[in-house]
């Protein structure tokens, strides 16, 4: 019965016989075009790694040499003298606030869309329309979304989201920018949640139904816990997108150097109705093409931004990896 591919090692000889490789399995005997292809694949991978490392190291070097801890806690000011133009506390707060608003809107909507698509998805034509809608939003450049948002939220009806200026709404505030920001995070959350839902084998849903549970309680008690890592991955990726976006901030957040709550109004709400800046708009403003022209500050801020985004991506990868190990059903 035992038809061994290689003869069993002789008793006494300690080293196993060398593994035989057929000549045509070795790249040296491949045709030239295959060898060129292989060399290109190697080169592409290595080049990409080098480029990524160069960017990271360059920004780290520039950033660390320019960053002063005091910059993280001082308000910026418009002084031309760089020693008195302050730090970027307000942009950091703006980034956090804007991300929080965008995610708070995008997560419930994104998860609901994904749940509907996977668990209901009928009629099929509507499901296709929803999928296309998500694709359209995912594909639209953020500056286009921002431009649309500016005209849309300038309607008088939306003056509660910013404030009324003359006849129309101002159309620029944390609330407005956060709402539009949620659109760029939405497709990532829908996608990640959807993937996670599709990973749940059907017999798990049936097991819950077979216990006499309704579809609603199956979704609530079984599917949502199962896809929580997927939601977290999508959220982390979406946060990265929001933090990194500039166009929406420049057009819809007013792009004021410091956070400017709306005059009067209820405390807290006036902050959401007011304008401000984020790290990306601060970098843009302080870059050599911007008005501030303080590249040192821009590098320091860019370093902080890069740290946040890299950390978020690492978190997303970690969550996605942990999922496979922990909640894997026999398929």
């Amino acid at each position: 019965m035992s038809a061994l591919a290689t003869p069993p090692p002789q008793p006494g000889s300690a080293a196993p016989p060398p593994r035989r490789t057929r000549a045509r399995d070795s790249a040296t005997t491949w045709p030239l075009r295959d060898r060129i292809g292989l060399a290109f694949c190697w080169a592409a991978g290595i080049t990409l790694t080098v480029v990524a490392l160069t960017i990271l190291l360059y920004m780290c070097f520039k950033g660390i040499t320019q960053l002063r801890p005091s910059m993280l806690v001082t308000h910026p000011s418009g002084a031309v003298d760089q020693s008195r133009s302050g730090g970027f506390l307000d942009p950091i707060q703006g980034t956090l606030l804007l991300t929080a608003i965008g995610i708070a809107i995008a997560v419930p909507i994104g998860v609901s869309v994904a749940l509907w698509l996977v668990e209901y998805g009928r009629p099929a034509a509507l499901a296709r329309a929803v999928e296309s809608a998500v694709d359209v939003i995912a594909g639209a450049p953020s500056v286009v979304l921002a431009l649309f948002g500016l005209s849309f939220f300038s309607e008088t009806f939306f003056s509660f989201m910013s404030f009324r200026s003359e006849d129309t709404a101002f159309g620029r505030s944390f609330m407005v920018a956060g709402t539009v920001m949620s659109l760029i995070a939405l497709p990532l959350i829908v996608g990640a949640t959807r993937e996670a839902l599709l990973q749940v084998p059907n017999h798990v849903r049936e097991a819950s139904l077979a216990l006499g549970k309704t579809k609603a309680s199956t979704i609530r008690a079984v599917l949502l816990p199962a896809v929580r890592p997927g939601i977290a991955t999508g959220t982390a990726l979406g946060m990265g997108r929001i933090i990194g976006d500039t166009a929406i901030v420049v057009l819809l957040l007013g792009n004021t150097l410091t956070t400017q709550p709306r005059d009067g109004g209820i405390f807290g709400l006036s902050l959401l109705q007011g304008t401000g800046s984020t790290l990306t708009s601060y970098i843009y403003g302080n870059s050599p093409v911007g008005e501030g022209n303080a590249p040192q500050k821009a590098y320091a801020a860019a370093f902080v931004l890069l740290l946040i985004v890299v950390a978020l991506n690492a978190l997303a990868t970690r969550i996605a990896r942990g999922r496979r190990k922990d909640t894997a059903w026999i398929r």
Binding site: P201, H203, V204, E206, A207, S208, L209, A210, L211, G212, K213, T214, A216, S217, T218, I219, R220, A221, V222, P225, A226, D326, T327, A328, W329, I330, R331
Partner: protein
């Protein structure tokens, strides 16, 4: 030595259908399903049980089709408490479909349609509330599928209304312990009730799924190849469990494994191409089958 003769079977020949012998309601006449051995070869079946045999479910001319394709064709089958019914047959013969129709899981497949009547305690199951029916007729699946929550919550899930977290842990400890004990899992998990259920081994996961079904105190337990993904030791434990369970509830098990059917089944239904070919005691199916097709299948001529 000449090679053994090749047995040829013609798969197109019309199947011999042996009609289901009428079983008296409340099962007084037929004992526990063990008649005298049919003579000749005798393979031991499961140990006989003293529990009275009571008919709980009955299929009357059940036909199930997926679109135009008929998967189950006019099957009549009684399902009784006090004995284990095994459904055997080659892949694609409709046994899993029939099993799933017993608690109306086939309704989840949009293309599936069903004819005939399935009754539970004389009541048409189509007239029962589907969630109520599934609480009474529970199912264990081929792959272990604990929910992504703790061991305790998995069992408590079927006791709580909807997907809520109430009642709280203390009130549910007793029924959860009872269910886990019945499934033979209590001693292995009593210290780890808060651990995620998906960290258990495959055999433990499957027994947890059985415990989860038992916690709802079902009257009929459907098992769809519950051991096919498991090692022999876990399989042995689950088979023992099945024999214990038959005293209190009706157990239907679908299996590909003829030896398993022989070990646990008091009654065996052999299905082929959607037809119920033969329904008899395990003794008879394995030692003195009436239909040619059954003889060929249990003899290993095809499968």
């Amino acid at each position: 030595m000449p090679p053994p003769p090749i047995r040829k079977i013609s798969l197109d020949a019309p199947p011999t259908v042996v009609h289901v012998p009428p079983i008296p309601l409340n099962g007084n006449g037929n004992g526990n399903g063990h008649g005298a051995p049919a003579g000749g070869l005798h393979t031991p079946g499961p140990p006989s049980s003293d529990a009275p045999v009571i008919e709980r479910m009955r299929c009357n001319a059940v036909t199930i089709a997926y679109g135009p394709k008929v998967a189950v064709n006019k099957v009549d089958l009684p399902i009784s408490q006090g004995e284990v019914l095994a459904m055997i047959g080659p892949s694609g013969c409709g046994k899993t479909t029939l099993l799933r129709s017993l608690n109306r899981l086939t309704e989840l497949t949009p293309s599936a349609s069903r004819g005939g009547v399935i009754s539970l305690d004389g009541q048409d199951i189509d007239l029962l509330e589907v969630t109520a029916l599934r609480k009474r007729v529970s199912m264990v699946f081929q792959q272990p599928n604990p929910f992504p929550m703790s061991v305790f919550d998995n069992v408590a899930y079927s006791l709580r209304e909807g997907g809520s977290k109430r009642p709280r842990k203390k009130e549910l400890m007793e029924p959860v312990e009872r269910a886990l004990t019945r499934a033979g899992l209590w001693h292995e998990v009593r210290d780890n009730l808060d651990h995620p259920a998906l960290r258990l081994s495959g055999g433990q996961q499957q027994r947890l799924c059985i415990a989860r079904s038992l916690a709802a105190q079902p009257e009929v337990l459907l098992m769809d190849e519950p051991c096919s993904a498991l090692d022999p030791i876990s399989t042995g434990k689950i088979e023992e469990l099945i024999l214990e369970l038959r005293e209190q509830i009706a157990v239907v098990i679908v299996t590909h494994n003829l030896q398993q059917a022989q070990r646990v089944a008091d009654r065996v239904a052999f299905m082929y191409l959607g037809e119920l070919v033969e329904y008899a005691s395990g003794e008879q199916i394995f030692n003195a089958p009436q239909a040619q097709r059954t003889r060929d299948y249990v003899g290993g001529a095809f499968g």
